[in-house]
């Protein structure tokens, strides 16, 4: 069940990127996609361990794998940077075009194609 839900979350992100025509909504889709990858990494470590990977807090049983968690810290920061740059670019595009709709933006006159 968990497996289906994680993959469902991933598909939701992809679907969001694909169908939405607003640039901002595409970035929302990208955020969801990124979260789904983080959830995948974290949950996979989770199901084998019984406590957080902090030695002072280990109660009984084994800990969860700390390595994917460290990797995901990096992935989250990277997604923050990409989101920030993407959003600011989208706003700048909106200010030049007056539209956030990708179809309208791409139909804006391109002097060499017509």
């Amino acid at each position: 069940m968990i497996r289906i839900l994680v993959i469902g979350l991933f598909c939701l992100g992809l679907w969001g990127i694909l169908i939405s025509r607003s640039l901002l909504r595409k970035i929302i889709g990208l955020s969801i996609l990124n979260s789904s990858v983080v959830v995948l990494f974290i949950l996979a470590g989770r199901l084998d361990g019984k406590s957080a990977p902090i030695l002072s807090a280990v109660r009984e049983g084994s800990i969860v794998d700390p390595l994917p968690q460290a990797l995901m810290l990096t992935a989250i920061v990277v997604s923050l940077s990409v989101t920030a740059v993407g959003l600011i670019l989208a706003v700048k595009i909106y200010r030049s075009c007056g539209s956030l709709d990708i179809k309208e933006i791409e139909e804006s006159p391109d002097e060499y194609d017509h």
């Binding site: 990858v37 390595l67 990096t74 740059v85 993407g86 670019l89 002097e111």
Partner: protein, 568 residues
């Protein structure tokens, strides 16, 4: 045969970073105190490192470096192989010439140099790292600095191109990360060497089919993620826009090296995986890529977009040669990577200077470039002769190597046809240098940023472009010597070199070259004739928007995952 020498690796990696830090200080102090020092620190550090590494590389060994003293599997290791060494040298040549052309142009600001050197730094990381998650981090640094560089000159088109690139590359890198997760879940390793050992054990040992399917899917996801960065069909749609919208110095760097570095990373990943079925598929992908790229390039009206589609096409040659898998194929791929890096950056620099000087990028409108830009015309001729495969230039040697490595394979005929198209489109592009400046051409200064100095080539730009042009000629003029060196670097051994058995100027090779150039010349007349132009207009109308390219990329991922999972 591994040696541990620390200094060259660290120097190679961190001299671009130091240059970036020095450049950004130009925001606080006058930038004339930071411009040259940054460049000199970078080039001196890199060249020293390469020189120091050379004895080890020449003896066929590699330099390794574990960061923080933590070895794999937990830590991260860097490595300089022969491949990295020669690729870095190419990178330095191209980047220094792009840097020299940037001086005195509108892009010459501390921030531009900062992102320029950050891109070089991440390229070095991509080339050196031996850890698959670390590769992801460097890819992200590379793409973030590319976004800024592409949209540096504030035009709407460049912003849209940067946004498309951002969305496509971020989406595909997340699929890449899922591949990394599969590998970690299966093998518990992130180092490429360890992954390779376990993957080989998986293939030979009788493991359950679900495991090998998962490993295959991981290979597919990772390959597709990297192919997106290398702009191979069907993942190429971001490239022509991004490379044509960027300032021309950036296009030279992007087309010259930024799309090659992922190829070299893929090379190391394939060494780890050893996946012959996927290599066979890559040959076909390469053939289609070469042919489609050149078809799209022939019909373009925008000079820089034409060059951008040519990058797609030439990446097809590289990946087809790489897919051949043999030692000759690898030599051909590496040779072509270097040759294409040199002549494509020279093309972007010379054509870019003309288009900026004239204030237009329309192939059909610009005329008389040779009178106003004599130096650029000279460099253009060298680069165009190289890319079209005229004997004694780099492209000729490269094309012989590629076709020899694919001897008898149907794809080699596709590559021959692509060669005809390449010649044709460059004859078409060369028209911007012929004739007299026409009266209807937009006058300089109309677009605001065009100054009178732009038409005169500055000394530093001339030196920069001469270095690259010399590289093109050396690669073409001494094929035997150069290829032996490249083959020994590519394969890491010096015995039984295949490249030394090729008869470079045999009759069949010369016949092929003259056939492709001759028919290309005829085809170019067809292209610029009335019907050809209207046909071109129709084909140009088939461009894929952002949503279309996302669909195409996801479809590519789907096909590749299913193929690799079932065939591993």
């Amino acid at each position: 045969m591994n040696t541990t020498i620390d200094l060259p690796v660290i120097l190679l990696l961190f001299s671009p970073l130091a240059a970036a830090i020095i450049s950004i200080c130009g925001k606080f102090i006058p930038s004339r105190y930071t411009e040259w020092p940054g460049f000199i620190v970078w080039i001196a550090g890199s060249i020293t490192a390469l020189a120091a590494a050379f004895p080890v590389i020449a003896s066929g060994a590699t330099l390794q470096y574990s960061l923080g003293g933590w070895a794999e599997p937990l830590g991260i290791s860097l490595e300089i192989t022969g491949l990295t060494w020669i690729a870095t040298l190419t990178d330095i040549i191209i980047a220094s010439s792009a840097w020299l052309c940037t001086r005195r142009s509108g892009q010459s600001t501390p921030l531009f140099y900062f992102f320029f050197f950050m891109a070089l730094f991440s390229l070095q990381g991509v080339l050196c790292t031996r850890d698959i998650f670390n590769l992801f981090v460097w890819f992200e640094v590379l793409s973030l600095s590319s976004f800024v560089l592409i949209s540096y000159d504030r035009s709407l088109i460049s912003r849209i191109a940067a946004f498309r690139y951002l969305l496509i590359s971020s989406m595909s890198i997340l699929l890449f990360l899922i591949g990394v997760w599969i590998l970690y879940q299966l093998f518990g390793e992130l180092g490429l060497v360890q992954i390779g050992i376990k993957a080989r054990a998986l293939r030979t040992g009788g493991s359950p089919p679900s495991y090998s399917r998962a490993a295959g899917a991981a290979a597919g996801l990772i390959t597709a993620g990297i192919l997106t960065r290398a702009a191979i069909i069907p993942f190429h749609t971001w490239l022509p826009d991004a490379h044509s919208a960027a300032p021309y110095q950036v296009s030279a760097l992007l087309s010259g090296f930024v799309i090659k570095a992922p190829m070299l990373a893929l090379w190391r990943i394939f060494d780890a995986f050893s996946f012959p079925e996927l290599l066979d598929l890559l040959i076909w992908i390469g053939g289609i890529c070469a042919l489609w790229g050149v078809l799209a390039a022939m019909v373009q009206r925008d000079a820089k977009k034409l060059l951008g589609y040519h990058s797609v096409s030439q990446m097809g040659y590289i990946i087809a040669a790489f897919g051949a898998g043999s030692r000759l194929g690898r030599t051909a791929a590496l040779f072509y990577i270097i040759a294409h890096a040199l002549f494509k950056s020279l093309l972007f620099l010379s054509v870019g200077r003309v288009t900026v000087g004239v204030g237009s990028r329309d192939v059909y409108a610009i005329r008389g470039g040779a009178r106003r830009f004599p130096a650029d015309t000279f460099f253009f001729i060298i680069a165009a002769a190289s890319i079209s495969g005229i004997p004694f230039f780099a492209g000729f040697t490269g094309k012989i190597l590629v076709t020899e490595s694919l001897y008898g394979h149907p794809v080699s005929y596709m590559l021959l046809a692509a060669g005809v198209g390449t010649a044709a489109s460059f004859f078409k592009l060369a028209r911007i240098f012929t004739g007299k400046p026409s009266p209807e051409e937009p006058s300089p200064g109309e677009h605001g940023s065009v100054q009178e100095e732009d038409t005169k080539v500055s000394v530093s730009a001339f030196i920069g472009m001469s270095i690259v042009a010399a590289g093109c000629i050396i690669l073409g003029a001494f094929p035997g010597i150069v290829d032996r060196g490249i083959e020994s670097l590519a394969t890491g051994s010096t015995r039984m070199l295949k490249a030394s058995f090729i008869d470079w100027y045999s009759l069949s090779h010369l016949k092929k070259a003259s056939f492709s150039i001759g028919s290309g010349f005829l085809l170019s007349f067809l292209l610029v004739s009335g019907p050809g132009r209207s046909l071109s207009h129709i084909v140009r109308g088939l461009k894929t928007g952002l949503n279309g390219s996302l669909r195409l990329i996801l479809l590519g991922f789907l096909v590749l995952i299913i193929f690799t999972a079932l065939s591993y």
